[in-house]
């Protein structure tokens, strides 16, 4: 049986060992004043969860302030928001080593929102994504539709930004609109093309004044009878337009007005001085093609634009000939359209033909209206989260994400290592306790 002195010797020896260890540790901490800061966070979209041991309210932003130049292991459960990416990028710029891992590859949607200019904005939202994934499409006002995979969604209106959401993923793109005047002048002859062009433009929200020749001395008028720069932003001139109504067209265009010249309307008179090219012989459309989904204008008769004027550019071609061309004259723009009888596309086309015809005409007219003043939608405080392609943005600004199964890359708790002073005090206390123990045991 051990005596009291023996027990005291054992305790004293243990305490002495603790004291020596603490002293050694304190010395090591003094020699290595910057201990690696073992941070580990989990990111899920816009949410950051710090591992236990790091202040529970810690964010990457606070890490930037408190631990610049350290290393951060970031485990991504989903694509980080632009705000979080900004913070990570700031850390990296401050010298931190960023390591990104994710247990599973991300779904990778991308979104673009394109407004067909006009008085009543009509937007096309283009979504590229995983064909097996379902994406919720919305705007700043809320949800609009859901789509699968890659698709184009045509919307009558859209507010602010287009958003694409899937579980754990959010992509958004701002929609730009243009502020333009909306009053246009249509001149032509009474006929189906004139009638349906006016209808399409009015349905798209344009205010249309028109002068359509019915007889040598009779012109059916709608609204203001005379083309005027102070009223109209563009003129659409169709074949058979009364000469009196387009006499002022060159001055109108040079003064900044837009003009859409259609088919054989460019053959003579005031319009011939503005044309982008000379009209060629009529090419018949391919029978039935106006009812196709992909190339409905191949079914229309075409007055090809045979030779382009200096400065003119071809915008659309068909069968090796120029179908649409544009040029600038003075301060104005001119688009020459070779297609004739586009009304056949609207009447006999595929299911969405009336809408497509309307959008096409509205876009043609909008393209000549100047100046198109791009206006960004009113931005919210969270507009820095607008990412058309968040995965691409991630790859562009941060190190590559390493795919690591969850079981292999647990987010370890941060270890809180005592500082040198604590260790020194502990060593001192341990030495004192060892000394006391020896005294009480009668060893010293």
């Amino acid at each position: 049986m051990r005596s009291r002195a023996d027990r005291g010797r054992v305790v004293a020896t243990l305490l002495q060992g603790v004291a020596i260890a603490c002293a050694a540790a304190a010395a090591w901490r003094l020699a290595h004043p910057t201990v690696a800061w073992p941070s580990a966070v989990t990111v899920d979209g816009d949410t950051i969860r710090a591992a236990e041991g790091v202040a529970s309210r810690a964010t990457l932003a606070s890490l930037v302030a408190t631990a610049p130049g350290e290393s951060i292991r970031v485990r991504l459960r989903s694509v980080p928001s632009a705000r979080v990416r900004g913070q990570l990028r700031a850390l990296a710029d401050a010298g931190a080593a960023i390591a990104l891992t994710t247990p599973t590859p991300f779904a990778t949607p991308a979104v673009a929102a394109r407004v067909v200019d006009g008085p009543a904005p009509m937007a096309t939202v283009l979504v590229a994504g995983d064909s097996s994934a379902t994406y919720r499409i919305g705007d700043d006002a809320g949800a609009l539709d859901s789509v699968r995979g890659a698709t184009a969604l045509h919307l009558a209106s859209i507010a602010g930004s287009a958003h694409v959401r899937a579980p754990g993923v959010h992509a958004a793109a701002p929609v730009r609109t243009t502020t333009i005047g909306t009053r246009v002048f249509v001149a032509g002859a009474a006929g189906w093309e004139s009638r349906f062009v006016v209808a399409a433009l009015e349905e798209a929200g344009w205010r249309v004044d028109a002068a359509l020749a019915v007889a040598p001395t009779v012109v059916v008028r709608q609204g203001e009878p005379v083309l005027a720069r102070e009223r109209h932003v563009a003129a659409i001139v169709l074949p058979g337009a009364p000469a009196s109504t387009v006499r002022g067209l060159p001055a109108f265009v040079r003064g900044g007005g837009g003009a859409v010249l259609v088919g054989e309307a460019v053959q003579a008179g005031a319009t011939s001085t503005l044309r982008a090219g000379a009209p060629g012989a009529v090419l018949a459309g391919e029978a039935g093609m106006e009812a196709s989904d992909d190339a409905p204008r191949h079914g229309l008769d075409l007055v090809p634009i045979a030779s382009l004027a200096r400065g003119a550019v071809a915008l659309e071609a068909r069968d090796g000939t120029t179908a649409i061309a544009a040029r600038r004259i003075g301060a104005g723009r001119v688009v020459q359209v070779g297609y004739a009888d586009s009304w056949r596309w609207r009447m006999a086309g595929a299911e969405g033909a009336p809408d497509a015809h309307r959008r096409w005409w509205s876009a043609l007219v909008a393209s000549v209206v100047s100046p198109p003043m791009p206006v960004r939608p009113r931005l919210s405080p969270f507009d820095d989260t607008l990412d058309a392609a968040p995965v691409a943005a991630l790859a562009a600004t941060l190190p590559p994400v390493r795919i690591a199964p969850a079981s292999m890359t647990p987010v370890r708790d941060a270890v809180s290592f005592p500082d040198a002073s604590t260790l020194a005090v502990t060593a001192l206390v341990a030495f004192m306790l060892a000394w006391v123990s020896r005294r009480l045991s009668g060893l010293a």
């Binding site: 009474a190 189906w192 009638r195 209808a199 059916v220 009888d341 009447m347």
Partner: protein, 203 residues
Amino acid sequence: MSRFTFCTVQYESGDWDSAPLVAANVIDAVARFTSIDVAPSGVVVPLASDDVLRYPLIFLTGHLPVRFSAAERAMLTKYLARGGLLFVDDHNHDIDGPFHRTCTEELARVAGPLARIPTRHALYRSFFTFENGPPNTSHELNGWGDNLVHEHLLGAERKGRLAVVYSNKDYSSEWSFHPENRKFISVDNVRFGVNLVVYALTR
């Protein structure tokens, strides 16, 4: 540029071909008064056929009860939605007759209820001016001895434009004479037909 072609539609029920001379007279009047490029002869197209989409103005008449087939109904619905204009004339000129009752019922199914077209409508001023609305026909005034005059035409709109014009005035009889006999008429009674065509081509 495509020319205007007068199109009469053929439907399965009733007597769609009761007024074969209307087309020739309207064509003649349009060519006589306007510079509109008009085809010299009309066409007849089945209402259920896709071909009606090639003619944004179509004419339908008859005496007998009308009952559209499902295919005719579907095509007419599509036609009106795309901007076509249907002109219907009751060849009977009566009130609540079999054509009127059945045809207006069918039209209501595809175009919604018909409403009176006001006398100030652009239809009455598109070329000639008809201050009092639709011109009366000789059959209304004394042709049948009943002096039964219909003050208004009926219509239905799509996107602010007339899509259906319905008449009880029996223009089918009024415009059904041989064009050669036009020289014996002091005031051309097909003038309203010109208005109808000009309205369709300009509004």
